[in-house]
């Protein structure tokens, strides 16, 4: 039996997810594509001609198992075209031929930043437009494998979320999806989970500046980790770090509303009270707990870490 095949196409995209994939480790990009035949990738395939590749695929002379889409979807040729096709037309022609469709990153998943161009309505994600199931493909669409479009969200996605999902599918393992069709294996965690600043979060000790080791970034500096589904502090970036570990707030880039918010470096508050509270608790409960924790001072957390006992 030959290798399974993968075709990577881009819609309206900044290439961020491709760049991310090039940093993949365990398996690396090259290890992955020694197991899977990469039919075409717009940034890597310099020998192949995309139009010839598409012609073979569309005429069923080449089977595609995995269709990966990066970028938002449009059917407007003024915005995007591959030969004489728009990305939308290509997806339409390919959707029933392939076994799986994977959305790589937030643009293909939710539409993301390109949808903010309000003058043109025909820009969306594959199966979602932000949180609504009003994507390019119908809400009940499924590929031959029985899966809907599998969304690997993030701006960009972490390479491991993609490679591990792909390997699970190659191995024939069942991939459980959440309500946004993201693999639960990764997106059941919050980026808060595993954050090195959790002690500061528990005792409500705020970070005053970016880039320091001390303090929680949730209270003033805009951190979205307690309400963002992503294992960024479980599967580290480049195997070494994450935003919160480096003293930068989580921007919530794996969620549908990532580009809909403003001012990513400041916590949205009303009369000093945070507008959004951590997932799973009511605002009433959260405020009560916060008040208690703030009253009871933890001495250790009032010092620089190097100065603690």
């Amino acid at each position: 039996m030959g290798k399974k095949t993968l075709l990577w196409l881009q819609g309206l995209s900044c290439n961020g997810n491709s760049q991310s994939l090039l940093n993949a480790e365990n398996p690396s990009f090259y290890e992955l594509f020694s197991r899977v035949e990469l039919i075409f990738h717009p940034e890597i395939s310099y020998k192949e001609n995309i139009l010839q590749v598409l012609e073979k695929v569309l005429s069923d002379r080449k089977k595609v198992n995995f269709l990966v889409i990066e970028g938002s979807i449009t059917t407007n040729k003024r915005f995007h075209r591959i030969g004489d096709y728009t990305i939308g037309e290509l997806i339409d022609r390919l959707k029933n031929k392939v076994d799986y469709i994977i959305a790589a990153g937030n643009c293909a998943s939710f539409g993301n930043i390109p949808v903010l161009y309000r003058e043109h309505k025909d820009i969306r994600g594959l199966q979602f437009k932000f949180k609504e199931r009003k994507g390019f493909l119908p809400p009940d669409f499924k590929t031959k494998s029985g899966y809907p479009v599998i969304n690997i969200t993030g701006c960009p996605m972490h390479p491991s979320w993609f490679t591990q999902t792909l390997i699970a599918l190659l191995e024939g393992r069942k991939v459980i999806l959440d309500k946004y069709n993201r693999p639960k294996e990764f997106f059941m965690y919050l980026s808060h989970d595993g954050c090195l600043r959790n002690e500061y979060f528990e005792w409500k000790v705020e970070a005053e500046e970016f880039g320091h080791k001390e303090g929680c970034l949730f209270y003033n500096l805009g951190c979205r980790a307690p309400m963002t589904h992503a294992p960024c502090n479980k599967i580290l970036w480049n195997r070494v770090s994450s935003k919160t570990r480096a003293g930068l707030p989580c921007f919530g880039c794996t969620e549908f509303d990532f580009p809909l918010r403003e001012n990513y470096f400041e916590t949205k508050k009303n009369i000093g009270i945070p507008e959004d509270v951590p997932l799973g608790v009511s605002k009433r409960v959260y405020i009560t707990i916060t008040g208690v924790a703030k009253t009871l001072k933890n001495e250790r957390l009032s010092k620089k870490l190097e100065e603690t006992d």
Binding site: N270, G272, E275
Partner: protein, 200 residues
């Protein structure tokens, strides 16, 4: 307490709280003894200690009880389908009504909790014994500012703008210098508070 009916331990505890709150509010914390409370309850001194280990513990419990009661009242208003302005008017009015119905609760707050801070050092620091009221007011302000009715500011200036005048009015009543009852000033005071907090 009326005889002939058996009270549950919880009911009796609540009764002690109400009686003690009245005595503390009237005579002051230091001028009220556990034997005084026992006498007013028609209980033995020893039996009171079955409910509260010390006078301090009782004092803290009263504060938590009052906060829960007032917090619940604000919560009801918070959950009503009213405009922010109407809620301000209603909170002010309800506060004065409670001050009239159960004057000992507010008196206790002003004359014991705020005046004898040393009693409340352990276990009642900061907002620990009044958290229900603070929580409800935080939710009230947050919601009002979120929908653009309140001007954005920090919590404490907003908090004192609302609660300061309420305490002040009840204090003046306690001093016997108010010509009318606080409830009769309710709308006028609410108007001042709304004007101070509203957006634009």
């Amino acid at each position: 307490m009326s005889k002939g009916r058996k009270y549950s331990k919880e009911e009796r505890k609540l009764e002690i709280v109400k009686v003690a709150c009245k005595l503390f509010a009237k005579r002051g914390y230091y001028n009220t003894t556990i034997p005084d409370i026992a006498e007013a309850m028609g209980m033995s001194v020893g039996n009171i200690y079955n409910y509260f280990k010390s006078k301090e513990e009782l004092a803290k419990y009263i504060m938590r009880y009052s906060s829960r009661l007032l917090g619940n009242e604000i919560r009801k208003i918070n959950e009503e389908d009213l405009s922010t302005k109407e809620k301000v008017y209603k909170i002010v009015k309800r506060f004065f009504e409670i001050a009239e119905e159960q004057p000992e609760l507010i008196e206790y707050f002003l004359r014991v909790f705020l005046s004898n801070r040393e009693i409340f050092n352990e276990g009642c620091e900061g907002f620990l014994c009044v958290s229900e009221v603070i929580t409800e007011l935080m939710l009230f302000f947050e919601e009002g500012a979120k929908i653009g009715d309140f001007r954005q500011q920090e919590f404490f200036p907003a908090f004192t703008t609302l609660m300061g005048p309420l305490g002040g009015m009840v204090f003046l009543k306690g001093e016997g210098v108010l010509p009318k009852s606080p409830v009769e000033y309710s709308d006028e005071l609410a108007k001042n508070i709304w004007n101070a907090l509203k957006n634009g």
